[in-house]
Subunit: 415 residues, 2 copies
Amino acid sequence: MDEKLLDLCKRAQKVKYDIQKLTSDRKNEALIHAARRLIERSDEIISANHEDIVAGTQKGMNEGLLDRLRLDEKRITGIAEGLKQVAALDDPVGKTLEKRDLNNGLHLRKVSVPMGVIGIIYESRPNVTADAFSLCFKAGSAVILKGGSDALNSNRMITSIIKDALKDLNIPEDAILLIESTDREVTRQFMTMKEYVDLLIPRGGAGLIRSVVENSLIPVIETGTGNCHIFVDKSADLNKAVEVILNAKTQRIGVCNAMESLIVHSGIVDEFMPLLAKALRTKNVEIRADQKICNIIDCKKATEEDYATEYLDLILSAKTVDNIDEAIEHVNRYTTHHSESILTSDKDNAVRFQNEVDAACVYVNCSTRFTDGFEFGLGAEIGISTQKLHARGPMGLKEITSYKYLIDGNYDVRS
Amino acid sequence: MDEKLLDLCKRAQKVKYDIQKLTSDRKNEALIHAARRLIERSDEIISANHEDIVAGTQKGMNEGLLDRLRLDEKRITGIAEGLKQVAALDDPVGKTLEKRDLNNGLHLRKVSVPMGVIGIIYESRPNVTADAFSLCFKAGSAVILKGGSDALNSNRMITSIIKDALKDLNIPEDAILLIESTDREVTRQFMTMKEYVDLLIPRGGAGLIRSVVENSLIPVIETGTGNCHIFVDKSADLNKAVEVILNAKTQRIGVCNAMESLIVHSGIVDEFMPLLAKALRTKNVEIRADQKICNIIDCKKATEEDYATEYLDLILSAKTVDNIDEAIEHVNRYTTHHSESILTSDKDNAVRFQNEVDAACVYVNCSTRFTDGFEFGLGAEIGISTQKLHARGPMGLKEITSYKYLIDGNYDVRS
């Protein structure tokens, strides 16, 4: 067992009760103060980030990744704004969720409580460091962060500034803890720290998430993989359908709520596909489709694997179906349980699609791109859950709390 | 990969959408019919159970375990009653949990949905077979059961009768599936069937639960381990405290909500311990305590391990503290996060204990024995969760459902 890791876990465990006891005002004050200090010390962040950028460039990191890694005044302002927004949100802790007098004479209350210690394992975007801290802290939990090694200098500086800000207010600085080791074995050990960590959230690509699910002994919330479908039913408004698909596929291609796969009703496929193909061509989207569609437009033949792939790229798989049953079956076969949409004027088909498709968010006549904590009115988001346990879809503050039962009696015994 | 296991998982996956679509009336009809058939065919159950009992006796199983395994007319009536009680409960599926119009113009509903496929791994009590089926079925999920090998004949017969009852009503019999293999490797493989199973609940001793947590790739809800404390504060009514402890420790010793450890305020320990020891002696409870208590009454010295042990036996560990802080610290050090209780007349200490003790159920002036789905008014219980993710404390029907977001728009795109 790595000694530093164990020490970190013990410190989190020790500090969690102090974090739980902080009032909303104290937490908000701390978030606002940390936001201010991040801005004031942005030159230090930029200089630490510069080291990461130089190392990344030397390693031959591609421009997309370097861009995700890069921090400038504007991005730091964005990070600070994020902290202030979290300060403005309602405190999710200490709410009475239920209250009842039991038949046995006892008085029972179910109240929301912090998780305790939350672990976050994430990849190279250093803004996650402050984001994840702010949400966990507001939800009353200590957080242990394991960021990507490529962003270590940036993460270390951001963490250190937040720690200093907490110290300024006499709040335990161990509310935020960073695993600085870049040894994969240490990350693996972290995932076994069940005794110290109550919840582990991986944020990143499919590989990272699979590795966490396979290795963690701590309860995990899976996030992020989105093989999102849009089904264009026979009764859809075809021109509007083109607009929705253009938005879902191309507005931002690298995000989990982007569309990856199209399903078209055979009754309109002849009319629809040329319209769509023309629009997608302007955005350089490659279509990989079944034979029926390949007979209508010029495109590549899709393989089984295409239907199972979250491209995160300018590629769209496409499939023809003869009815709503086939559409639902296809979606449920390939869905990653993230976001799925039907475009239709048929009420019955809309209801059936929503009821029978097994995903966190099921849309009627919308782009899949709306699956997002801010869009859903949660105020912020720590990730989008694709599992059914605990939280599903966008996770805000409430979704990273737990509850407990408080029971009051009068020296009652069970008979 | 075991072929039969894979086939079972695929059948569950296939049938889950049909189970989801059943109306409450159909589900209730099926539960009541299954209850009737279990009674009508009780001779077949008793005869299958007899084979398990004979095999168990030959293996030298102790009388306690044989008793847990044994089924007679009365117990089968109890099982059937359980099914009817579940039929009478409110359907947890299809409820609109939240509803809001978003700023972006979309209409959002959050609705309760079934888990899909639930796996249950349990030890030798064959009544769990029907219990677990009834709760999962009412909650709209298919269930895959892996019972203890010692109860295989009983479990097979109960499953077969329920399947026949479902067939009578043209409901897919694969709503209940039993893993019949007694090979541990098959159980281990079952825990990796993430693609087919949405939730895994282990029910049994600490060893079983640890093994599931360590090996499962499927999200798990841990149940059952209870190292439950009662803290007798300085201001407690000492005579009533004796009654509560007697109840918590001895009413049923083998259950997870039984008391295992006592904490006593030093201000009353001299007066209280002789009273308590006298009462516990009548029930043959052995006390293992710290030096202070050993100086007052005749008892064995407790080790560190004693404080960490869930005895499930006529043994009680005991510890003296000087104040509420020490009491809370001791509880939080050794708690298994199940049920903890304070006996006090001091309002402030009561509130602090409830707020600061990290357990699913925190009592003031009650026996810990009340932690139970029926007592809490949940109508039934599939287990008591000791983790913070998804469900905490007694889990009824609601706790084995998930939710999804349904979003309606008018060909909306994200800007």
